[in-house]
Symmetry: D2
Subunit: 99 residues, 4 copies
């Protein structure tokens, strides 16, 4: 673990992948900002909650995209190199995402 609370392993992403993932996060950031504006405008509770479920769905899509890239690259490569520790790490993060 580094001082930033995550280990030092890195993962270089392609320009294209980086752009696609960043764009998704920008949209999610905008959706969260939108929730704050809804609060300011006294929007009705159930309308805000419906929008929260849309943000959750967008976050899940981002997770799936990142997870899919992770499986296709890091996981496949490390398994081919005989480093099966990658599976423990994967299960540990899936446990958090499947809750």
């Amino acid at each position: 673990m580094s001082e930033h609370g995550y280990n030092q392993r890195k993962r270089k992403r392609s320009e294209e992948e980086l752009k696609k993932l960043s764009n998704r996060l920008c949209r999610i950031e905008g959706q969260v900002r939108g929730l704050r504006e809804m609060l300011q405008k006294d929007v009705y509770c159930t309308d805000i909650l419906t929008q929260v479920s849309a943000v959750n769905a967008a976050l899940n899509s981002f997770s799936r995209e990142l997870l899919s890239e992770h499986l296709r690259t890091c996981v496949a490569e490390r398994i081919r190199q005989g480093d099966d520790e990658v599976i423990d790490e994967l299960m540990s993060v899936l446990q958090k995402l499947m809750k």
Copy 2:
């Protein structure tokens, strides 16, 4: 439905409630921005995914807070006034949140 995609019913919140809910959303916005920075810094996939699950948990806390206020005020009041349509609206939003 208004032009903004949600109906015109309003809900005036107290200063204190508004502040508490807005603060939660500010923190979530910061967490999403943090995810974007993690991507830029080539942080490893599972570390980003772990952080995504933290954002999901924070969004769920926000939902529960808002839902709790909604039950205690709008739902209770409208049921007392004999307006049971509030229950259909509630079930419809819970269905989205329980998915």
Copy 3:
């Protein structure tokens, strides 16, 4: 709390409601038994996992049905009687179901 781990409050359901809810549970029991048979027949992991997600969906439908009845009867009645403790109980169970 009773010796059975739940409190003594009761809820009389109509014949029709009882039948509808029991039928759903019978089907879910059959699905779980089906999972066990899949294991015995050496069915491939992802096919079993797909079926598990179907059982989860069926359980969620049962929850929503029961929750909807609960809101329309117990919750509405107790709120009309001024017993707002029903809302705390509801939030506590929703917290478990929204995880």
Copy 4:
């Protein structure tokens, strides 16, 4: 796809693994039967819903156990054999489980 709705790929499990997984499913079956008895005994809605969330948690534990075995055996082996189609199948089932 076979006439039973799942493809013919098989997965031989060890006696020990089979027993562990079957035992979990037996307990879940018992829990679902218990839900039906709670209905018959007019148990209060929120007590039943709390028990439903326990069944959901047990099903998730079963999924994780099976998924973990799947990753350690089928997925690792097929990746080593160069059969990356296993990753598409995995993502497709994770998508269902992460909903």
